[in-house]
């Protein structure tokens, strides 16, 4: 039997959709018993949320004011202590999991499997390399398996029948003081979360300015979509970094992805290739985005955007 310890991600109030997606991956490990651990300053309500999720056998709760903000250097030694006896340690491949889990793997004396996109056996996994231009099948040769999960590859699990037992644990590992949280600036757009949205409207350099970039907001609002951006748009200062979609930004898998003024650099395409339907609007008929688009439209963005917005608004009525 595989004993899986899954690290929950949360913002202090709610468990992230990435956690439920990582659970789907954990459940794909043959004969897995899944424990979920949550580190927080006030972890009880979070643990209650996790306890209802499908496939969770038990929830471990670490309550400590020091975990009010998730700092890898503080969580890692405690997670390593709790990982004793587990065959697998998993975390979502978000900036939280990607930052933390290699530190855990090193302390456990193993290399990590990054960005698991499919589980073949308890020890064998598929993962993208070269910005998704190749897929590697890798086998872990000694337990434990430490892996981050590419969340775009897995659907979130739902709420299950049972309520898993919650256990308060107090790891003895001392918390280092060499790393301190200072501040976080969180964008509050009022739009759906980019990483879990079913529809995403993204803008690229073709929009020309930060002011023009805001014009895609109206379309996104009409569609109930999240807003994304290409690296070029972020580098040009049209959009903040957290909107970046691509290999080095967010990897997403919405039902509908509308790319506006995005040429389609390889690293951007890597971030969207699991989208069910890709729509590309670009003035350049040679833009590589059209190679992957399900529906392409060549034309002037600034003429098309208001028309599209009207059609969508009309369809919604």
């Amino acid at each position: 039997m595989s004993k899986v310890l899954l690290l929950a991600e949360h913002d202090g109030r709610a468990v992230s959709p990435a956690t439920a997606r990582t659970l789907r991956c954990a459940a794909a490990i043959p004969d897995a018993e899944i424990s979920v651990v949550v580190f927080a300053a006030e972890a009880r309500a979070l643990a209650e949320q996790i306890a209802t999720l499908e496939g969770v056998a038990r929830v471990l709760l670490v309550n400590d004011a020091a975990h009010a903000q998730p700092l890898a250097a503080l969580i890692a030694p405690q997670l390593v202590e709790l990982a004793a006896g587990y065959t697998h340690v998993l975390a979502p491949a978000t900036t939280f999991g990607r930052d933390l889990l290699p530190r855990v793997a090193a302390l456990l004396g193993t290399s990590q499997v990054s960005d698991v996109m499919a589980v073949e056996t308890a020890m064998r996994f598929r993962r993208p390399i070269y910005a998704g231009n190749a897929i590697a099948t890798v086998e872990v040769t000694a337990l434990p398996v430490v892996a981050t999960v590419r969340i775009a590859s897995f659907q979130a699990v739902g709420v299950g029948q049972a309520h898993a037992p919650i256990e308060v644990v107090r790891p003895a590992a001392p918390l280092p003081t060499h790393t301190r949280f200072v501040s976080q600036s969180v964008a509050t757009s009022g739009r759906p979360d980019l990483q879990s949205a079913r529809r995403v409207v993204s803008g690229g350099r073709g929009l020309g300015s930060a002011e023009n970039f805001r014009r895609i907001e109206a379309l996104a609002a009409a569609l109930g979509a999240a807003v994304g951006a290409s690296r070029a748009a972020v580098d040009s200062g049209f959009a903040p970094n957290e909107l970046q979609v691509g290999q080095t930004g967010k990897i997403i898998a919405p039902d509908l992805y509308i790319a506006i003024g995005i040429s389609g650099a390889i690293q951007h395409l890597t971030g969207i290739k699991d989208a069910r339907t890709i729509v590309a609007i670009n003035k350049d008929p040679e833009a590589p985005i059209f190679e992957v688009a399900d529906i392409g439209l060549v034309g002037d963005l600034f003429a098309i955007l208001p028309e599209l917005e009207q059609h969508v608004a009309a369809a919604a009525r």
Partner: protein, 249 residues
């Protein structure tokens, strides 16, 4: 002497369209242009800027790999690094192994700061910096987009999923770079000549007392599934109709 260690990796150049070998054993690299991993170029640049601000005295650049990694070290020297260390091995560069080798090098060099890319664009593991920090029992500041260095601590702005996070880490520490930390400079021709006389030391894993214990085995490498080419529409009205057909509006 305040020292910054920059760890770099030689990778297939980011402009190369890679090809998977027909036998599924890996990526074809024979005759393919190789370069410094782009995130590591940003790491070199950041270290040079810190030295130029007189906040460090020396920038040491290190790499791990076979003999043909030396052109990338020479490039780093031409960019302005003071000296280079090449850990020579043709073994598989598993993340933990790389971190163990760097850890031994860090013990010898005693840097105030280690800077490296957040990930290498070949294997996309994104593990080395965090693992080095773990083995060294020092702080890590990953995905940095701004670095403010003080005497005993650094304040680092990190690009995280929710936005930007600022943390403070005591020195020595490990910092990994994100895209927007800086814009790397270009190599100047006279500097390429000058770099030839800069010191480049070689070491072996045995000399550092580290042996590879493989934990991961690559079973197979294959090309990703291709998306079917879609349809081109001629107007917004046709686009809307196509979206309706797919049940998306």
């Amino acid at each position: 002497m305040r020292r910054i260690l920059v760890a770099i990796k030689r990778v297939v150049d980011y402009n190369v369209r890679i090809r998977v070998k027909a036998d599924g054993s890996g990526i074809a690299t024979d005759g393919v242009k190789q370069s410094i991993n782009p995130f590591d170029e940003i790491a070199i640049e950041e270290a040079l800027r810190v030295r130029e601000r007189k906040q460090a005295d020396e920038v040491v650049v290190a790499t791990i790999g076979p003999a043909d990694c030396q052109p990338q070290l020479r490039t780093a020297l031409a960019l302005g690094a003071d000296r280079a260390v090449h850990i020579v091995t043709s073994e598989t560069l598993e993340p933990l192994y790389v971190a163990q080798l760097l850890h031994k090098l860090v013990e010898r060099e005693a840097p105030a700061l280690v800077v490296l890319g957040k990930q290498a664009i070949d294997e996309d593991n994104g593990q080395t910096g965090q693992m080095l920090a773990a083995l060294w029992q020092r702080p890590q500041a990953t995905y940095s987009s701004k670095l403010e260095l003080g005497d005993t601590a650094a304040r680092v702005t990190r690009e995280v999923d929710a936005g930007l996070e600022v943390i403070e880490v005591d020195l020595p520490a490990v910092v990994t770079t994100d895209l927007r930390l800086n814009q790397p400079r270009y190599v100047k021709l006279p500097d390429i000549l000058k770099a030839k006389s800069k010191p480049l030391a070689t070491l072996t894993p045995a000399e550092l007392g580290v042996a590879l214990v493989p934990r991961l085995r690559v079973v197979q490498v294959e090309p990703p599934p291709q998306r079917q080419k879609g349809v081109m529409v001629k107007s917004t009205a046709e686009l809307v109709a196509a979206l309706r057909d797919k049940g998306l509006l």
